[in-house]
Symmetry: C2
Subunit: 203 residues, 2 copies
DNA sequence: TGACTAAGTGTTCACACGACACTATTCTAG
DNA sequence: CTAGAATAGTGTCGTGTGAACACTTAGTCA
């Protein structure tokens, strides 16, 4: 019985939630897109395997990484009995990516416009998307998708991208400020029009 | 690399949340209590393995069963590299239990008075307890711990046992009735004092 | 300097939740 | 048969939270 990890790596591009897919070179599903991932080595923890695969296949380091669910149907991989532990991860759009990968083989796709996926990776993606949508309600998920300093409008774009629906600007700003999860800096971001105040996460 | 399942089986006894533990006969941790569980067979899904172990070790059938988390630290089992997929399950206190087990080897323990546990099973139990406490807030967890017909006082006892704190009777009854998750039957349970109306889950 | 663009800001209403105490019904024991 | 014990059952008010809703301000660029 072999064990793999698969990682749904999210980011925000052009105001939409994207995830990283890699084109498979080997059979099965050669030429098909799949999630980054691979086998757990004998002496590493499952969490460490996920972090290592993210580094090797996506070129990202020290990102937010959380275990999602384990998929263990006997027929899910035609090569034999392979159980996979799914993770999701998040990177800010600014982080340089795919450093260790041939650019032709890895690409970002919007979550609502995915190509056909190998194995049961579509189910994993849907599970991950549902999880972060729910987590948005009761945690601070979303910060991991932004740089250390960000404007409240940028934070709102993140929330809208994850939820897939527009939010009211005044209600959103009031909520995040009253919850005390952000704190203002004295800097402003001059990006085109009226400069926007930059914020940080509190803690 | 081998894969096991471990199941935290909850029930309510004497107004407190209990879980089932089995005394280990073999090394390692011989004589110590552990969660019911065992190896995933080559041709069964991980979910099916959890259901099978519940049947074999606890004698319970067709209970509510949900995957929790996968624990995969390399040193967690002294026998070698074993990854475990943890589940939790719930049975009403009325269901006959431990049918397939030597009664001397399986016993219910209150979650707040557990004996020393084998492996990392204490961490699994704590994870399961946290999960059901949280789920109580936004789902209908708790019904699985009751028979099909139950009084609102019985439902309140379940919630108090899971949360570990007393709840206000009027607020509790108002909430569950307004949420429309229970529907009244025309039967009453004559149990000692004033008879209590029986309810069912809606859907 | 006028037009465009994004930032920023308050009020009102409905609903959910928490705190809080008494009456009603049945059984049992004297 | 009557008193007491035990559990079932019930309503109000204050507070906080979330949703709906429109205009002003500051800066850029043509």
């Amino acid at each position: 019985m072999r064990v793999t990890v698969d990682i749904v790596l999210f980011t925000i591009r052009e105001r939409r939630l994207h995830l990283l897919l890699i084109r498979r070179l080997a059979e099965p599903f050669a030429g098909c897109f799949a999630l980054p991932g691979g086998f757990v080595l004998p002496d590493e923890s499952v969490d460490a395997a996920a972090a290592r695969e993210l580094r090797e296949e996506a070129g990202v380091e020290s990102v937010y990484l959380e275990q999602l669910y384990t998929f263990g149907e006997p027929g899910r991989d035609p090569r034999g009995r392979i159980i996979t532990v799914a993770y999701y991860a998040m990177v800010p759009q600014t982080q340089s990516l795919q450093a260790g990968t041939d650019a032709a083989d890895a690409a970002w796709f919007p979550v609502d416009a995915l190509p056909p996926l190998a194995f049961d990776h579509l189910a994993i993606v849907q599970y991950a998307h549902t999880r972060i949508r729910n987590k948005l309600g009761y945690t601070n998920v979303g910060f991991e998708l932004l740089p250390a300093k960000f404007t409240l409008s940028e934070l709102q774009v993140v929330h809208e991208a994850i939820l897939g629906e527009p939010l009211d600007k005044r209600n959103f700003r009031r909520r995040v400020q009253l919850q005390g999860i952000v704190k203002p800096t004295k800097e402003f971001q001059a990006t085109g029009r009226k400069p926007a105040q930059l914020f940080r996460f509190k803690d």
